[in-house]
C-alpha cells in the first residue's frame, strides 16, 4: 500500500517497501516563547529558518503547526503554509486539532497534504474526515478514542478497526490512511515501547496500513535522548513503521534511520547511504 503525498512539484511515497519517510517536526511554536511572540506580531521569519534546517537535516515532508494560544490559528496557518510552499518543494503535513485551521490550511495548500491528526473519537472523525475527502488529502489517525490511550496492542487494534470503518464510510481510499500506533514514554512505563512495537507489527500484518508517529515521546524525561531515539526508530522500522514525525536537525537519529533503511532492504546496494556519505564528505 502506497500513500502519496505531493507538493506542487514533488511527490513523496510512504510504504512498507519504501525508504522511511521523515516528517520534520520543528516548524512548531509549542514551548517556544520567543517564536510565539514573533508569530503573534505577524513575524514568520523563524518559520523560514526552521524550514531550512529541517530540509538540510534530511526531512522528506514538513510538519507545519501554528498552535499559538490566543491567536487566529486558521489565518496564521494559511500564512505559514504559503510561506513554506514558496521556499521548499517538500509536501506538508498540516498539524492542528482546530477544525477551522485544518480547513483553512487545506484550502490554501497546493498538492496532496497529510492531515495531522484525528483520533478514533467519533466526533473528531465526523468533523475531520469530510475535509480530508473534500481536499483529497491523507490523514494520520491516532489509535486512541474517547476512553483514552489503550494500554494494550489488542485494544489499540480495536480502535484501528473503528477508524478503518469510518474511512470506508467517508469513501476515503485506504492508502490515504496512516495510523499513529502511539509511542509512549519508556521512562514512565517499562513496557511502553514493547506495546508500541507490538501494535506496529499487528497493524502491518493485519491491515498493511502505513503508519507514522511522534517518535521522540519514547525518551521523554531521560538523559541522552538522541541515543534512545536512535535505537528506537530502527526497532520500530523493523516492526513495520513507515514514517515518523521527528526533528531532522539531529544527525545521529537521521543517520540511524537511513542505516536501518539499508539494513532492511529499502535502500538496495546502499545507493542512498553512499550518496549521503559522499555529500557529507564534500560538505566537510
Amino acid at each position: 500500500m502506497h500513500t502519496h503525498l505531493r507538493s506542487a512539484s514533488k511527490e513523496v511515497v510512504i510504504g512498507h517497501d519504501q525508504p522511511f519517510v521523515i516528517i520534520g517536526e520543528r516548524i512548531n511554536p509549542t514551548g517556544r516563547k520567543k517564536f510565539q511572540e514573533q508569530l503573534r506580531a505577524g513575524d514568520l521569519s523563524q518559520v523560514q529558518i526552521d524550514v531550512e534546517q529541517q530540509v538540510a537535516g534530511g526531512a522528506d515532508v514538513l510538519d507545519v503547526n501554528m498552535g499559538v494560544p490566543l491567536t487566529d490559528e486558521p489565518e496564521l496557518l494559511v500564512k505559514a503554509i504559503k510561506l513554506v510552499q514558496s521556499i521548499s518543494d517538500l509536501p506538508i503535513c498540516i498539524d492542528s486539532s482546530v477544525i477551522e485551521a485544518l480547513e483553512a490550511g487545506l484550502g490554501a495548500y497546493e498538492g496532496k497534504a497529510l492531515v495531522n491528526s484525528t483520533t478514533g473519537e467519533d466526533d473528531r472523525m465526523d468533523a475531520i474526515l469530510p475535509l480530508v475527502k473534500k481536499h483529497n488529502a491523507a490523514i494520520l489517525a491516532l489509535a486512541n478514542d474517547e476512553t483514552g490511550i489503550p494500554a494494550t496492542a489488542k485494544e489499540r487494534i480495536v480502535v484501528v478497526e473503528k477508524i478503518i470503518k469510518a474511512i470506508e464510510k467517508h469513501s476515503i481510499p485506504m492508502e490515504d490512511l496512516l495510523i499513529d500506533p502511539l509511542a509512549m514514554t519508556v521512562g514512565a512505563d517499562p513496557d511502553a515501547v514493547n506495546i508500541t512495537l507490538e501494535t506496529v507489527h499487528l497493524i502491518k500484518e493485519k491491515f498493511g496500513l502505513n503508519m507514522s508517529m511522534g517518535a521522540s515521546n519514547v525518551s521523554f524525561g531521560l538523559p541522552n535522548r538522541h541515543a534512545v531515539n536512535s535505537a528506537f526508530l530502527p526497532m520500530a522500522m523493523a516492526a513495520g513503521l513507515t514514517s515518523a514525525i521527528m526533528d531532522s536537525r539531529t544527525a545521529e537519529i537521521v543517520a540511524s534511520v537511513r542505516a536501518a533503511d539499508l539494513l532492511l532492504g529499502y535502500d538496495q546496494w546502499g545507493a542512498n547511504w553512499i550518496t549521503r556519505f559522499r555529500q557529507q564528505a564534500v560538505n566537510a
Binding site: T30, G31, V68, G148, G187, A188, L222, P223
Partner: protein, 221 residues
C-alpha cells in the same frame, strides 16, 4: 536499629525508589516507637524534597522520580490511617486532573508525587476530565486547590471553560485554581483567570504552599 538509623534509611531508600524496603522500614519504625508524623516529616518528605531538588537541577530523571514517588506512596498507605487517627492537620488537599480532550498524564503524575511528597493529600481524577467531573469532585472532597493540566495548545482553552463552569456552579471562590502543562505560560494562566501557574513539579509545590498560606492568612484577617 536506632530511630535515627530507621529514618536515615527511609530517606535513602525512598530516594532510590526501593518500595518494598521502604514499607519494611516504615513498619519497623512504627514498632520501634517512631510516630507516623516523625516517619512522614523526618523521613519521607525530606527524601522526596531532595528528589525534587535533584530533578530541578537536572541530576535526577523522570523514572527515578516516579519510582521514588511510588516508594513513598507505599509507606503513605500504611501511615495515612494512623495520621488520620492522630488528627494531624494536612498541608492541604489538592484535586488534580488533566482536562477534557487531553490524555497526557506524566507531568500531572509527577506533580502529584511532589505534592504527596510535601504532605498534601492528593485526589487525582485522571485524564480527559470534563468540567462536571471537576465539579463533582470538588463537592465531594472540598479541596483547597484544584489543579488542571493540559499538554496541548488545543486543550488549554478547557481551563477557561472549567473555570467558567466552576463559577456557574458557585464553587469558584472556595478553591484556589492552579494550571500547568508544557504549552502553558504565566501569561496564559493570567488570561484564563487562574490563581497560580508553575512550570515544573517542584515549583508547583512551592506555589501551592504559598497560595494556601496566603488564603489561610486572609481567612484569619
Amino acid at each position: 536499629m536506632s530511630k535515627e538509623q530507621v529514618l536515615k534509611e527511609i530517606y535513602d531508600e525512598t530516594m532510590l525508589g526501593n518500595g518494598p524496603r521502604v514499607i519494611e522500614l516504615t513498619n519497623q519504625g512504627l514498632s520501634e516507637g517512631l510516630t507516623p508524623d516523625e516517619l512522614l516529616f523526618e523521613g519521607l518528605i525530606p527524601s522526596l524534597e531532595e528528589v525534587g531538588a535533584r530533578f530541578e537541577r537536572g541530576d535526577y530523571f523522570v523514572p527515578e522520580m516516579l519510582i521514588a514517588g511510588r516508594a513513598m506512596s507505599g509507606a503513605l498507605d500504611i501511615l495515612r490511617p494512623l495520621l488520620a487517627d492522630t488528627g494531624a492537620e494536612t498541608v492541604g488537599t489538592f484535586l488534580m486532573g488533566t482536562v477534557k480532550g487531553d490524555v497526557h498524564d506524566i507531568g500531572k503524575n509527577l506533580v502529584n508525587i511532589m505534592l504527596e511528597g510535601a504532605g498534601f493529600q492528593v485526589i487525582d481524577i485522571g485524564v480527559q476530565a470534563p468540567p462536571e467531573k471537576f465539579i463533582d469532585a470538588i463537592k465531594e472532597h472540598q479541596p483547597d486547590i484544584v489543579g488542571m493540566s493540559a499538554f496541548l495548545t488545543t486543550t488549554m482553552p478547557m481551563f477557561k471553560v472549567n473555570i467558567h463552569e466552576l463559577t456557574k456552579a458557585g464553587l469558584r471562590d472556595q478553591v484556589i485554581i492552579m494550571v500547568g502543562g508544557a504549552p502553558v505560560t504565566q501569561e496564559y494562566a493570567d488570561a484564563v483567570g487562574a490563581d497560580g501557574y508553575a512550570s515544573d513539579a517542584s515549583t508547583a509545590v512551592r506555589k501551592a504552599k504559598e497560595l494556601i498560606a496566603q488564603k489561610r492568612a486572609l481567612a484569619k484577617a
